[in-house]
Symmetry: C2
Subunit: 369 residues, 2 copies
């Protein structure tokens, strides 16, 4: 990891948007609206200050927050802009803790932007890291939950001023269920702030440096466009990933099931993959990739679909018949590969008990990512 980010500029936001969308692995919601809000905060003279994990004090109170709801709704029902801030203040009132910093629950997609927006509004820094290192559809899939944080009380807010406190539940999954029911009544888009964590816990269990990672990833894609170099290779190098397919989408089946976009995509290979058939299975995010019937990548590793020509990420709702795509498999962080993590975010947790997770091998000798 190169130099860590300290303060986010309007230009950085453009790069983070692209990087976050790539790390969204097809889901996570669109960071575009959040980027515009962040830019507006900067224009007002507010700052988006980033604090590296190692500088966080052990007894700091850190709140993980973000938007919750159906990504497809989030784009049309524009956020009022202070939902996360109100959720944060409601949580401060509920717990009596003064919050020192915020952190993203998931760096992939829209929730890369939300903590930066809230941090700028509240005048507190944003921790360089997140709870997923990618995007996942449900809250109990955060490393916070996996490694023992009790996320209640949580505070939820919507654009109309509604405030709901989920003070106690029997489990992290029960919290997810109550929050999901509440956000449906909020019109399928709202904000949630989870019970404060101590800095010591966050330092140990956050996926580290993921804002910097998104920034650098986005920058390298932008640069490759300017330099006319291959953006796909740029992403692969940057993320230590593998190209598992290039081809054309020849079949696409996608429907809404229980609030999630579920389905699969078939890709007919070209180039080095001529004559081969790729299949991607999805639930908001891309979960499993098979080549000629063999599993080549699966959760928690990242499956990313990029436009073959531009290297720009394609989210599940933007998939179209005939698109020419590159499918990339990127290794996830080791925190997502432990036994307790795989119970929650491994293939079986998503309904693929027949698939045994085999960690993607990293090409370089870097640890984690």
């Amino acid at each position: 990891m190169d130099e860590l980010l300290r303060q986010v500029t309007a230009e950085d936001l453009e790069a983070i948007e692209i990087g976050a969308a790539i790390l969204g692995t097809g889901g996570g919601g669109n960071p575009y609206i959040g980027k515009l809000r962040c830019r507006e905060e900067l224009r007002k003279g507010h700052q988006i200050n980033i604090i590296p994990l190692h500088e966080l004090s052990d007894d700091a109170w850190v709140v993980s927050l973000g938007g919750i709801g159906a990504p497809v709704v989030g784009v049309e029902k524009i956020e009022q802009g202070e939902e996360c801030l109100r959720a944060l203040y409601a949580l401060e009132k509920e717990t009596g803790n003064k919050i020192d910093a915020v952190i993203s629950s998931e760096i992939g997609g829209a929730n890369a932007m939300e903590p930066m927006l809230t941090g700028a509004q509240a005048g507190i820094p944003v921790v360089d890291g997140d709870g997923m290192g990618r995007a996942f559809p449900e809250m109990q899939m955060c490393t916070w939950s996996i490694y023992g944080h009790k996320s209640t009380p949580s505070a939820m807010a919507d654009e109309k001023g509604s405030i709901i406190i989920i003070r106690d539940t029997t489990s992290e999954i029960a919290l997810e269920r109550f929050a999901r029911a509440t956000v449906v009544e909020m019109g399928a888009a709202g904000a949630i702030a989870l019970a404060p964590m101590r800095g010591s816990f966050v330092k140990r269990y956050a996926i580290p440096n993921t804002i910097t990672q998104a920034l650098q990833l986005g920058r390298s894609v932008l640069e490759s466009q300017i330099n006319n170099s291959d953006p796909i290779n740029t992403v692969l190098e940057k993320e230590d990933g593998q190209l598992v397919m290039t081809g054309k989408i020849i079949d696409l089946e996608r429907h809404l099931k229980g609030g999630f976009a579920v389905g699969h995509v078939n890709v007919e290979g070209f180039g080095d993959f001529r004559g081969k058939l790729g299949e991607i299975y999805l639930q908001n995010e891309f979960l499993v990739f098979k080549l000629d019937g063999e599993v080549r990548a699966c959760v928690p590793d990242l499956i990313v679909v990029l436009e073959a020509d531009t290297g720009l990420p394609i989210t599940t709702e933007m998939l179209r018949y005939g698109q020419r795509v590159a499918v990339l498999a990127l290794p996830c962080h080791d925190l997502l590969r432990s036994e307790e993590a795989l119970e929650v975010i491994g293939p079986a947790a998503f309904g693929y008990p027949e698939i045994t997770y085999t960690p993607l091998v990293r090409n370089s000798s870097r640890e984690g990512n």
Copy 2:
């Protein structure tokens, strides 16, 4: 109204159960389980103390509470017994107010018992009155909401220990929607305690003396069974009502729609009503009664269906083809007949805009009931 009730005995509970079920107008849930819980509290040496409205001090804090959910589930998913108590304590924590008394949100059905149970557990009195004087399917149909009380913050609890605080919403209907979504996640049965009201407000807007009313109504039915007198006439006299039909159920259509039991019942007349056709339309409660196509009674007045022989009330889920029934129309309290009340609980509010509410005339000169 004869002498007001001061303390509830185990024997009183039996009578209140019957009276509350009659006032439930087909809905409101079954008070049976709550009665057993109350009896158990008495057996433990706890008291169910009743305070008449006029003795309530103006600055007392009174909380309206009860069960929420699908009545049909409440019978099978037995409450743990302290749901309402936990909701009350969560509300005290949220508001910082020490609560002086509880009151029923609806006297009709199961929620006649819940505040008595909670009062016994918490050692505080139960106000003799309620927010409906009958049963209605939704919370904004309480006189509290109709006459301007803001019911947030509300606290909800379930049998597993979950606590949800609905701290702020844009309206009483929005509160109902959030609470309904939450209770579905609770397994369709939970408890809710609404924002504390001042004694002065409760004295003005509670339907008065309805625990005493349920007790006396139940007692008179029990006595008529012992004396072999006509229980139907007893109820009519007690409640100043009219017999609008006696007959046999010859058609019945009932289904679940949006969590409510919706449908209609056709009754073929016998006795004085031979040759006539009665139709009852229902949504959890009985809403509209037509005789040969003419509206004879509708909400907010009470439509009660009793077994012709025993005088015992029949709830919507107990309706069966071939049952011999008496249909009674009982006048509701004047607080339910104001313009602002009819907007929320008149026929149009239940989807019958073509029906103009004509208040049932009282036979006697009593005011209210």
